[in-house]
């Protein structure tokens, strides 16, 4: 709860203090504030004892606080790793932090109203951020598309919430669990409950860009400024999956009923994400599809809910840690390569291998996304696949095939980086933040137990 307040306050602070100042002035203060929020979340101290919030609206368990810390950490990382814009005003930083406020709310929600609120607070700044490169027509297109499709999905989500309320007479997730177990006991589900659940799921699946609700992602990811893309690809995934997991846990008594549907969606996401990733010529778009594929893998976590021997939340957490760190790194590399070469396709990586520290860091990031051992990506995938295998071997089989395919397109970046060393003279740029990203990836990869609650 305290973290939520800090992030919110920081957002307002940055927004107002940053007026008419270059963004770089507010960059490190924002990072520090977000880190502070993350640390507060991690430690669990309650700074706002005077504030009483009903448990049925929002509450943070120790697991939730870890998710909050991850959100704040990744938010800080995204801000730190990308160059600040030179133009006046820190509104983009403020918007990012506002969006983060929504994400933090989403993680702690106990109530459909709070969930809706969180999603909206998170999404609306994102629409603006997608279009924040005002001179760029693609950025504008991305914003419009994201907004239209997002509005549509929110409508579906709201409709689902309404149906659920109609079916159960409550908006509190915990109470819904009682109702669900009651229905499960008799084996009949009223149509309104089913319809509500499906529509709610569609709304959330849209946010995490699972197939077939993923269409916005490639267009929006590609058109938006890269920093916004990185933010979307990480923060929204973390918050979205946390919410999805919570809803699934609430309806856990009905797990037999939805398991196949989840598996099918996961398989679809994995196939479409990876196959489309294979044919992209733009690395940014490739990463968009890769994020769809990763959403597919993470959907497998939902299969673990209700299985006492697995801790679905900590497995998801580890995967998200691995995914979001590596994703941020990958987007940062794409941004750096684009700025350096002025190209949008894979040739942007040409000659990168002559810059030794850059290539080492980049390789680590992409290896982690592909899930090669000793990187965080492998640890995340290993725990996820190994646990899900006993529940749904077919889906895990597809996930493994998908991982195989994904290696093809992740390694494409290396091919360009190593193939042509004459073309460009890379300016040696050292970023300790990116170095930190590599170290973190290897650390999580070598000692995943430290990061699994």
């Amino acid at each position: 709860m305290s973290a939520l307040l800090i992030v919110f306050a920081a957002a307002i602070l940055v927004l107002f203090l940053g007026i008419n100042k270059p963004e770089s002035a507010m960059k490190w203060p924002s990072v520090i504030l977000l880190m502070l929020a993350g640390l507060v979340a991690l430690s669990g101290v309650d700074l706002a004892t005077w504030l009483t919030v009903p448990e049925s609206m929002i509450s943070y368990s120790s697991m939730d606080r870890l998710f909050v810390a991850l959100l704040c950490g990744i938010g800080a990382l995204v801000i730190a790793v990308f160059d600040a814009l030179s133009s006046k005003g820190s509104d983009r930083l403020g918007l990012m932090m506002l969006s983060l406020t929504g994400a933090v709310m989403l993680v702690g929600q106990e109530n459909l109203v709070m969930m809706f609120l969180g999603i909206e607070v998170m999404s609306i700044p994102l629409y603006v951020l997608a279009g924040s490169d005002k001179q760029n027509i693609f950025s504008n297109e991305a914003a419009i598309k994201y907004f239209l499709l997002g509005a549509f999905s929110t409508a579906i989500l709201l409709l689902g919430s309404a149906f659920l309320y109609g079916a159960t007479g409550t908006l509190v997730l915990q109470s819904m669990t009682h109702k669900a177990s009651m229905y499960a006991h008799f084996g009949v589900y009223p149509p309104m409950l089913v319809a509500g659940l499906v529509l709610l799921a569609v709304g959330l699946l849209f946010k995490v860009s699972a197939v077939p609700f993923h269409f916005w992602a490639p267009d929006v990811y590609e058109g938006s400024p890269t920093r916004s893309t990185a933010f979307m690809a990480t923060i929204v995934k973390i918050a979205g999956f946390s919410a999805l997991l919570r809803v699934t846990m609430a309806f856990e008594p009905m797990s037999l009923w939805y398991q196949n549907a989840v598996a099918i969606l996961a398989i679809l996401s994995i196939i479409v994400g990876n196959m489309m990733g294979l044919v992209q010529s733009s690395p940014k778009r490739m990463l968009a599809y890769s994020s769809i594929a990763h959403a597919g893998y993470m959907l497998l976590v939902l299969l673990l809910v209700g299985q006492a021997q697995f801790e679905a939340d900590s497995i998801l957490y580890l995967y998200l840690v691995a995914y979001s760190i590596a994703s941020t790194g990958a987007f940062a590399w794409i941004e750096w390569a684009t700025q350096r070469s002025g190209k949008m396709d894979f040739t942007m990586f040409n000659g990168l291998s002559s810059n030794r520290w850059a290539i080492v860091n980049m390789v680590i990031v992409f290896l982690s996304l592909a899930g090669i051992p000793l990187t965080a990506g492998f640890a995340g995938k290993y725990y996820l696949f190994a646990s899900a295998f006993s529940i749904h071997p077919l889906a895990v089989g597809f996930a493994l095939l998908g991982t195989l395919l994904s290696i093809a397109y992740y390694f494409r970046a290396f091919r360009f980086a190593f193939a042509d060393t004459q073309e460009s003279t890379p300016n040696a740029k050292f970023s300790w933040v990116l170095m930190l990203v590599s170290v973190a990836i290897l650390l999580v990869g070598c000692a995943p137990m430290w990061f699994m609650p």
């Binding site: 499906v198 569609v202 489309m276 044919v279």
Partner: protein
């Protein structure tokens, strides 16, 4: 004292020289390497009396644990491994010293010594290990070092091929050894010598188990000890620097197979069929190699074939069940063959890398020390009375005589051939006239003291090596010294030999006369008549056959290498390129094509996106509501 120190010192030498040798002065590198082999030798000597009481066993620790099978890292110094250790470290020290001079101008000086130390380390593991796993560890380790040292001058591609050949041939043998170990695990549930051998001694398993394990272990020995059909690598291994040939490919590593059989004495005594196999393989190898040795003109090649032949003789002894006789010959062979190799190295050094004996001659005047020591070595190996080789060979011949007359006959024949090719080489090298036009006789020089000193020590050993195991007709004791020393280790012991004293003297007479014939004939041919070995193009018939080593290399080439290569080419061209690669390519293309088809949906058309989303949601609703 802790046995691990024996291992740790050479390993330390390997590490120091391997990591920092380049920065250290050459003398320091050589002296360090030599002393780290010499100290274990002294330590092993001090343990003599202790080992005499009982075998020393080190504190074991778990090396591998798989299921019920617990393999320990455990060392054991008993009477057998003590002898091996003394030979390895003793001769090793001499050869290290020798190498300091021999390799003085080599750019890879430090590398050479670090490899040598690594070899000593692995060889000690091989003989000190208290279970078959440790033996295997050392077995592979010495194989690696052998590979590295044969190909030491890897800039010459031929030497590289020779190294590869040695490695591959050894791998074939290793496969047999490994299978043998697997069978031991399967039937006895352990690899520990004590456990396995006491289990075997109970004779609780069917005969075929013993026979097949014994044969499989022998296949391993065939590879390492260069027996038919896996012997062809050893002559090629002469590509390595001469000290390496002396240490690894004559005195120590190649005798690992003999050690393995002696160590598994219980097993082989219970598997007479396997022992017969050993006997015949040894006999065939001994004869074949001796024949080939007759017409080789490379000084080191002659010695290499002689080594193969002598190893064959050791296996003949093993086949007859004369374990201590084999060990005796192993020890004396280590002395005189190391001496001969080092002597040939001295010649090569003095002649500036000339190895062809047709281009030598008359060297006795230029290199007196080398000449004398080489003469002693030659006399010892050809069985000059009362030198080391005489006694050790004689004991083997005695056993073969007891086994069957025709085995005895062939063995004597082989021993006679030894004298012939050795004296042929000796006279061609040191007597007659100097025959090299490219290198003036005045430039031929005696080697430095660092090289001749080991020669003299080894010559002394070759002279007196017979003392190790003097036959009972000289000592009038009940049994020979070495046999007596090894006796407590054996469960069944050496095959008993009972012959009349008169027969024994007759056999001695035969041996001496064979030596005399060889000596006189060769002297007549090469010294008195002054003939020189014919050039390659003058050879005909049997000489050509021998000079070309019975075309065994060519036979293996067309029997195994060519068909395998053809198979490889076929699998590459057809199975791989047209099969697997085409298949994976196809998979890639299909995926790519499907991806492009899918990509058409992603047209940027927002209405289409919405329609698909709504349809998907509707589909899900429909399925969940009505199905």
């Amino acid at each position: 004292m802790n046995l691990y120190i024996l291992l740790a010192l050479p390993l330390l030498g390997f590490t120091i020289n391997g990591l920092f040798g380049k920065q250290l002065p050459k003398f320091v590198v050589g002296a360090l390497a030599s002393s780290l082999v010499f100290i274990p030798f002294v330590l092993a000597l001090t343990l003599w009396s202790e080992v005499k009481e009982a075998a020393i066993v080190s504190q074991p620790f778990t090396f591998l644990q798989v299921g019920d099978l617990n393999i320990e890292f455990k060392l054991m110094l008993d009477r057998l491994s003590l002898i091996m250790t003394l030979i390895i470290t003793g001769i090793g020290t001499l050869i290290h010293l020798y190498s300091m001079a021999y390799m003085a101008d080599d750019a890879g000086y430090y590398k050479f010594f670090s490899y040598l130390n690594l070899f000593i380390f692995n060889m000690l593991i091989l003989v000190l290990g208290a279970n078959f796993m440790m033996l295997f560890f050392g077995w592979e380790g010495v194989g690696l070092c052998s590979y590295l040292l044969i190909g030491f001058w890897y800039h010459n591609p031929d030497f590289g091929y020779a190294a590869r050949k040695a490695f591959v041939m050894n791998r074939i043998g290793d496969l047999g050894l490994l299978l043998g170990l697997f069978m031991i695990i399967q039937h006895f549930g352990s690899l520990d010598y004590q456990v396995v051998f006491s289990e075997i001694a109970k004779v609780s398993h069917p005969q075929w188990v013993y026979t097949s394990i014994a044969v499989l272990l022998f296949v391993g020995a065939m590879g390492k000890s260069a027996q038919i059909p896996l012997y062809t690598w050893l002559p090629d291994a002469m590509a390595g620097p001469t000290p390496v040939s002396a240490l690894i490919h004559a005195a120590t590593m190649v005798t690992a197979g003999v050690y393995l059989v002696v160590r598994s004495e219980v097993l082989y005594t219970l598997a007479p069929m396997a022992r017969d196999l050993i006997l015949y393989v040894g006999l065939a190898t001994s004869l074949l190699a001796a024949f080939i040795g007759l017409k080789q003109n490379d000084i080191k090649k002659v010695l290499a074939y002689s080594t193969v032949s002598q190893l064959g003789l050791m296996f003949i002894a093993l086949g007859c069940g004369a374990y201590s006789a084999a060990m005796f010959h192993l020890a004396t062979h280590a002395f005189f063959k190391a001496l001969l190799f080092l002597g040939s190295g001295s010649v090569i050094h003095g002649m500036h890398h000339e190895q062809d004996i047709r281009k030598m001659g008359g060297l006795r005047k230029a290199m007196p020390l080398t000449y004398v020591t080489f003469l002693i070595g030659t006399l010892a190996i050809s069985g000059f009375p009362f030198l080391s080789g005489f006694f050790s060979k004689d004991e083997i011949l005695l056993h073969t005589f007891h086994h069957s007359p025709w085995v005895y006959g062939l063995s004597v024949f082989s021993a006679g051939l030894t004298g012939i090719y050795m004296f042929r080489m000796f006279f061609l090298t040191f007597h007659g006239t100097y025959r090299n036009d490219h290198y003036a006789f005045e430039k031929v020089h005696e080697s430095p003291i660092l090289m001749t000193l080991p020669l003299m020590v080894l010559a002394a050993l070759s002279l007196s090596g017979g003392l190790l195991n003097l036959p009972h007709y000289l000592t009038h004791s009940h049994s020979e010294a070495l046999a007596h020393w090894l006796e407590p280790l054996f469960v069944f012991g050496d095959a008993a030999v009972h012959v009349e004293p008169s027969t024994e003297w007759a056999l001695l007479g035969v041996a001496v006369s064979v030596f005399v014939i060889a000596f006189v004939w060769m002297r007549q041919k090469y010294v008195v008549q002054g003939r020189v070995a014919e050039n390659d193009d003058q050879m005909s018939g049997s000489a050509k056959l021998l000079a070309h080593k019975f075309y065994v290399d060519e036979l293996y080439d067309s029997l195994f290498a060519k068909p395998l290569q053809a198979l490889g080419t076929w699998t590459y061209r057809v199975l791989d390129r047209k099969g697997f690669v085409a298949f994976t390519d196809l998979m890639g293309k299909v995926t790519h094509w499907k991806g492009q088809t899918l990509a058409r949906i992603q047209s940027g058309n927002i209405e289409l996106y919405l329609i698909i989303m709504v349809l998907a949601a509707a589909l899900m609703l429909g399925i969940e509501l009505f199905a």
